[in-house]
Amino acid sequence: MNRSQMIRASWASWMSQSFEPVGPGWWQYVWTFVFSMGVAAGFTVVGFALFASGGTAWRNLAGWGQWYLNYLVVSLAIGYSIHGLFKLGKSAFGKARIQRFSRWQRCAYFTVIPIGGLMLGMAIGLPLARGNLGTWVWPNDTNGVVASVLLSLLVFLLFQVYFSTRHRRIAAEHQAAEAQLRLLQAQMEPHFLFNTLANVVSLMEADTPRAKAMLESFTDYLRASLLSLRAPEHSLGDELDLIEAYLRVVKVRMDDRLRYRIDVAAELRVQRVPALSLQPLVENAVVHGLEPSIAGGEVVLSAWLEAGRLVIRVGDDGIGLDGAHHSARAGNGTALNNIRARLQQRHGERAQLQIERAAPHGVLATLTLPTGTTA
């Protein structure tokens, strides 16, 4: 982080009253000062607009200076009161407790402290400004006091709105990045990698053409996976190619225990689907449905258009959702949650993923998407 980035981050951490202030601790006090200076400048302009009388008042520089100083004293008093109260609150409740606050508790906390600080700051600041600089009329002017309190509240509420949206946006970005990372981890799952390589090595001498074919399929799978990770969407055809490469690799490993069928009309291959939205369903069917089954079984992937939507179904006749007692279906949920989160983000309520039991055993995963073709 360079200096200007650090300064920006430190300012942001001050603005959001973060528990981990960026930069040296004393910077936080500087930010309070800078912010108070800005607020005082704002109030000076508003004050002139409301109260200045006579055409020459605008050009009276000394008047500007005096008003500004008045406001600055009050703003600083308010600013440091709020700053102090936040510090006090943090040591009284403790960081962990504040972070665990419910929505309403948090709202109350972040409302009461600034307003309390405002009152305390006015109580300290107004006499100070009046005592030092003489001709201050504010406390006698009820309207002015009410107006400034309301104005402060408004400013405060605007900040609240700004920070809650910003907080939500950051949280969403964070979540998306995490989902992406998990997706990458899932594609590079070590059991799959090592078992595949072990099979290639095992076949190298005994059945070289098969070893070569397996390595080629594996390369196709890796290349397509990595490309898919960079694009949020691709065509159903791309996704099916990726799935076929995956299944060809697993077929070598499982041999006659795995059968698969991809039953998708050629014209549907141009439909747009979220990248890696189907492969994890096929992988779930293989890893949690067929691999733990002694007899193995079949994965069938089919797709069709229905009521203007694209329906894709992955079915297996494996051990099913409750399966064997060592619950091989554990871990299944992660991939599904990941797909659901990405569908929600991209299509909202218009996309669905449904998991149900198949008869007599196995699982049916049905993905419904809005139609749309790739450009």
Binding site: H191, A198, A206, D207, R253, I294, A324, H325, H326
Partner: protein
């Protein structure tokens, strides 16, 4: 002649291990290549090989579960392509294992160790104790390891029997149920053995086999048969229960 069984659900890996073993240990006779855990367990019971190369992740029963049910003297070598936890545990307890793809040098080392162990059966007790430790560590404990179990309830038609666990001679897995044997008779409950094992007092209830937990106060003694399988005999019950190799050491230190 030394005999061995290979169990792996991926046929090419099993074939390759078999070829490597043939090259490095020509006198070893592979009696069967099993393609799942159930087949492996049955084959071990039928052929009683000296050695079993068990893949950890197999359909039916995992390699760990197969090991937990071995009754004779068959010695286990685990085989895995990738399993951090298992490999860590094996290293820590000095359990024999082989990594896939099988590397000739590593396999030669394992073979040497196994041969030494087969030649000195008197050391096998400590080996078995170590195996038991590893099995316990690697078998996933049931999530709901609730407080100590004092009673089990068995339904029989419209009736539900409440049985004090202190009165139970043994629990034995029976297909989809667990059979609860008391002096008065037997009842069936749904709780699996692994779940019961986690909930019973380990000082009083010993798991002596993948499918059996015995209540120690009822143990009358043990018997070793001509195939050096160990059986536990219970007071008030005229049949014997097999003790898995991994748990034989429990009775040695009695």
């Amino acid at each position: 002649m030394t005999t061995a069984l290979i169990a792996d659900d991926e046929p090419h890996l099993a074939t390759y291990l078999r070829a490597q073993l043939a090259a490095l240990w020509p006198e070893l006779e592979v009696v069967q290549v099993a393609r799942n855990g159930v087949e492996a367990a049955a084959s071990i019971a039928a052929h009683r090989p000296d050695l079993a190369f068990l893949d950890i992740k197999m359909p039916g029963l995992s390699g760990l579960e197969v090991a937990q049910g071995i009754e004779g003297t068959t010695r286990v070598v685990f085989v895995t392509a990738y399993d951090e936890f298992a490999v860590q545990a094996f290293e820590h307890e000095a359990i024999d294992y082989v990594l896939k793809p099988v590397n000739a040098q590593r396999l030669a080392k394992t073979i040497e160790r196994v041969r030494r162990a087969l030649a000195a059966p008197e050391d096998s007790v400590t080996d078995d104790a170590r195996l038991a430790t590893v099995l316990q560590r690697l078998q996933p404990a049931p999530a709901n390891a609730s407080p100590r179990l004092r009673y089990v309830r068995a339904s029989q038609g419209e009736l539900t029997h409440q049985i004090d666990v202190a009165q139970v001679l043994f629990f034995r897995a029976d297909d989809k149920y667990t059979c609860v044997q008391t002096a008065a008779g037997e009842h069936l409950i749904r709780a699996p053995i692994a779940e019961l094992a986690a909930q019973l007092d380990p000082e009083q209830f010993w798991q002596v086999h993948r499918s059996t937990i015995v209540n120690l106060p009822f143990v009358a003694g043990t018997r070793r048969d001509e195939l050096s399988r160990l059986f536990v005999r219970l007071r008030g019950f005229d049949a014997e229960l097999p003790v898995s190799r991994a748990y034989v050491h429990l009775f040695k230190s009695m």
